[in-house]
């Protein structure tokens, strides 16, 4: 589907149904259950890791003004510190988009920010500090994927050994624990079937769903010991390097029943479904083997997984991290941490992606978020506190660009080191128009 057609569809749906509009979202990568920002994003919330010896040393949610014409456009206008260094990482809005849930991979605390009362100045609404106890031993709340009235959270680790075996954990919108769904393992497949030589490792990372197909996919990273440790130390530890996930699991979205375990070697991380009505596939990338993977429904209705191309030169270990699919499904941004580069792939034929553009963002880069119209692309820098580059290479920033269809053009940049804020991680967009 071409971008023009899709935009028209979205506008028509909006005119008929009003808000909240189910089935669409901004940033192009979030839960399709939540309402979208139909105009220009007004604020960017950056979940930021505190750094010892820098500023107040605490993790914080930083609000950046991106309102067109604002006197403070491109500046930090608010910041709310949460206490401690929790390994701030990912976060997601509730399905009604009134609250932003953000996790700490180390301390397992979950911070729920009120973003609707004053979208320019989020406040800390509630802290869940019983995640491990509630869940029966899950460690490392990672992806926050909104379902109606619920928040589905992927774990990365466990409290038995800080290894990679983990689970999905479900809370309601009030922050009350609902259920834990452990990932299938070789010893306990829970009715799932391993295909293509996959060995169910029980590891977790991202979660995304294709509602109309009742398909949910989860990917697999590594446990606390690895994601918390010094990156260089880990590279030199052959025991640690064996502890990465090699699987993507297909689930029944509604019953949370695992169905199939795919063999996706080398730590598959982010998962992105396109938006088109007939687009029955998803992309993922493997961090360690630098491959782009397609998880797709074949002609017989079975879901399959296949490697559809390299990202840079895998032998150089560029380390693909965040990805962002355009709203028209035609392109995919792929960041690689080690070379600080973003690459744009033409995925109009998802089985044959083709790189069409590349640009070095900085000495390191992690997250990428794009506006719904694809004309603005934002990048942040931090991967994990102890994986980020050291010394002068430890650039920490939010960088904004406009995308004119052929190149990224500098807009503004915020230096998180100079402002003594910390390490900039996930970005999410806010707008007062959502609550008008």
């Amino acid at each position: 589907m071409k971008r023009r057609e899709f935009t028209g569809l979205a506008a028509a749906a909006l005119a008929m149904g009003g808000l909240p509009l189910r089935g669409f979202a901004d940033e192009t990568c979030q839960s399709p259950y939540m309402p979208m920002i139909t105009g220009h994003e007004e604020y960017i919330y950056v979940w930021t890791l505190g750094v010892e010896g820098m500023g107040d040393e605490q993790d914080k949610l930083v609000t950046v003004d991106v309102r067109p014409g604002s006197d403070t456009r491109g500046e930090v206008i608010n910041s709310v510190s949460v206490g401690g260094r929790n390994e701030a990482h990912h976060g997601g809005f509730s399905a009604d988009r009134r609250y932003f849930w953000a996790g700490g991979l180390d301390t397992n605390r979950i911070f729920i920010f009120d973003v609707h009362s004053d979208p320019s100045n989020p406040t800390l609404h509630k802290v869940i500090d019983t995640f491990v106890k509630d869940s029966g031993g899950v460690v490392g709340p990672h992806t926050f994927f909104a379902l109606p009235g619920r928040m589905l959270i992927t774990g990365l680790s466990n409290d038995d050994d800080h290894g990679g075996r983990t689970a999905l954990v479900e809370y309601n919108d009030d922050g009350d624990f609902v259920a834990t769904h452990w990932m299938p393992t070789e010893a306990d497949m829970q009715g799932a079937v391993a295909v293509d030589g996959a060995v169910a490792d029980g590891y977790g990372y991202d979660i995304r769903a294709l509602i109309r197909k009742n398909i949910m996919l989860t990917s697999s990273f590594t446990g606390w010991s690895n994601y918390m440790m010094d990156f260089g130390q880990m590279l030199g530890d052959p025991e640690a390097m064996k502890r990465f996930g090699n699987t993507i699991v297909q689930w029944d979205l509604h019953t949370r029943q695992p169905r199939k375990v795919f063999n996706v070697p080398g730590a598959p991380l982010e998962i992105r479904f396109p938006w088109g009505a007939n687009a029955n596939y998803a992309f993922s990338t493997t961090a360690l083997t630098s491959k782009l993977w397609l998880i797709y429904e074949d002609d017989t209705g079975e879901w399959q997984a296949k490697d559809v191309g390299d990202i840079g030169n895998p032998a150089d270990v560029p380390l693909p991290v965040d990805i962002s699919i355009a709203a028209d499904d035609q392109t995919l941004w792929v960041n690689t941490f080690m070379d600080g580069m973003t690459r744009l792939f033409d995925v109009s034929d998802p089985h044959n992606p083709r790189m069409v553009y590349e640009k070095v963002i900085d000495r390191q880069v992690n997250m990428v978020s794009q506006s719904w119209d694809g004309e603005r692309v934002y990048f942040t820098s931090s991967l994990l506190a102890n994986w980020d580059k050291k010394g002068d290479d430890n650039a920490q920033y939010l960088k904004a660009y406009t995308w004119n269809g052929s190149e990224l053009i500098d807009d503004f940049e915020i230096d998180f080191n100079a402002l003594k804020l910390g390490r900039a991680h996930i970005m999410r967009f806010g707008s007062a128009a959502l609550y008008a």
Binding site: F131, S225, G232, L235, D237, A240, A385, K390
Partner: protein, 405 residues
């Protein structure tokens, strides 16, 4: 409460031979579920074990002022697994001493502490730690009653600002106040924490290995011919037994002394002269040679490790490390004080090569001239040192979920 027997004879664990294709969770972990059910409470069994001597081991030495009791063992277990006893509530003793991994950690060379801070040494097994006269790889403590203080306040381990804060925390917890009252008829205190932790750890006893049944029990079939040949190499040509002692009635497989095997010196040379590339496993069967500059760009500083010298400041003690017991060695990989060797085969080959050969190396470390068959036999012998109760120790450890937020 689950009842767990101490007499289970079946240890359904694989040997520690590392599968070439291993990836994901460490394979062959000790299965607590394989421990035979018992009519006794788990702590009764633990107490009985800490007051008896399994085949091949002497009686556990208990200090006169800290005799074991069921209450101390139960309290000690709870403290050992309580993640709240670290500054940010993420680390317990058990996060580095994992029961299913022989109370060691198979998945890391060197331990990782609070906020991911690097520890320069491998987590040693705590099985049979009650027999150790010197604790830590460098012997920096001498009693389990006091040993726990160091990791609790070490900035790169549990990072508490003081042990006083730990005591104060326990005093705020009604559950702990009741347990300390029941155990000591007194509130939580530093001494009492140490006494309880020590009592629990002294219950982590495991003997009755294939070797014990063969050597001390007279069961000629419990060791394979290869293992028996390996024993001859161990006590003869390789002379391992000059440090890893085997006595007439029992064997701790350690002289409890400190030696410079050449290994620590070698590792320091590696630290000062890192290789131009690091071979990194990216996936099963997929390896990349990563340039040193790239590794350095994401590496924090690595500390030197001078071993026993860090305790005594005597230059003669540089690179000396405590002789580890070899009991359960097949279940406590990776090896050496920094976990730098992955398999027993690699360890035997290191010694067969004569260490590093530097000037201060212990003269007993010399080229051994073992042929491949002798090396294989020696490895087989070491695999026969696995005690029979590791599964029950793990089951007892998991008798209640850890305390968490």
């Amino acid at each position: 409460m689950k009842h767990i027997g101490v007499l289970s004879l079946v240890l359904t664990v694989a040997t520690a031979a590392v599968c070439a294709e291993e990836y994901g969770p460490a394979r062959g972990q000790i299965d607590p579920a394989s421990c035979e059910e018992s009519d006794n409470d788990w702590a009764e069994n633990a107490l009985a074990r800490s007051l008896s001597s399994p085949l091949g081991l002497p009686l556990v030495p208990h200090p006169p002022d800290n005799p074991p009791t069921i209450e101390k063992i139960e309290l000690g277990r709870k403290l050992f697994f309580d993640r709240r006893l670290s500054i940010n509530k993420t680390m317990s003793c058990a996060m580095c001493h994992v029961p299913e991994q022989g109370f060691a950690n198979w998945e890391l060379r060197t331990s990782v502490g609070v906020e991911g801070r690097s520890v320069k040494r491998n987590a040693p097994t705590l099985v049979n730690v009650g027999y150790m006269e010197v604790l830590f790889h460098d012997g920096r403590d001498l009693a389990l009653e006091t040993q726990f203080v160091a990791p609790m306040v070490a900035r790169n381990e549990m990072a508490n600002p003081s042990v006083g804060t730990v005591v104060a925390f326990l005093k705020t917890q009604p559950e702990y106040r009741a347990l300390f009252d029941a155990t000591f008829d007194a509130p939580p205190s530093l001494d009492r924490i140490g006494m309880a932790l020590a009592a629990y750890q002294r219950s982590l006893v495991s003997g009755n290995s294939d070797f014990d049944r063969w050597y001390y029990g007279g069961d000629s079939a419990s060791m394979t011919p290869a293992q028996q040949r390996g024993f001859s190499v161990f006590t003869g040509k390789a002379d391992c037994a000059s440090c890893h002692l085997i006595d007439e009635d029992a064997a701790l497989f350690t002289d409890q002394l400190f030696h410079d095997t050449g290994y620590g010196w070698t590792r320091e040379q590696d630290r000062q002269n890192p290789p131009s590339t690091t071979r990194v496993q990216a996936a099963p069967g997929v390896y990349f040679d990563v340039p040193a500059a790239m590794v350095a760009s994401v590496s924090g500083p690595r500390e030197a490790d001078l071993g026993r010298y860090e305790v005594t400041e005597d230059p003669a003690d540089r690179w000396k490390i405590r002789t580890p017991s070899l009991r359960n060695v097949a279940m406590t990989r990776p090896y050496m004080h920094d976990g730098g060797l992955t398999t027993l085969q690699e360890v035997v080959e290191f010694y067969n090569d004569g260490g590093s050969g530097h000037a201060r190396q212990d003269p007993r470390i010399r080229p051994l001239g073992l042929n491949p068959g002798e090396i294989a036999d020696l490895v087989a012998f070491l695999q026969g040192l696995t005690g029979s109760s590791l599964n029950c120790l793990a089951a007892e450890a998991r008798s209640a979920p850890p305390d968490n937020h």
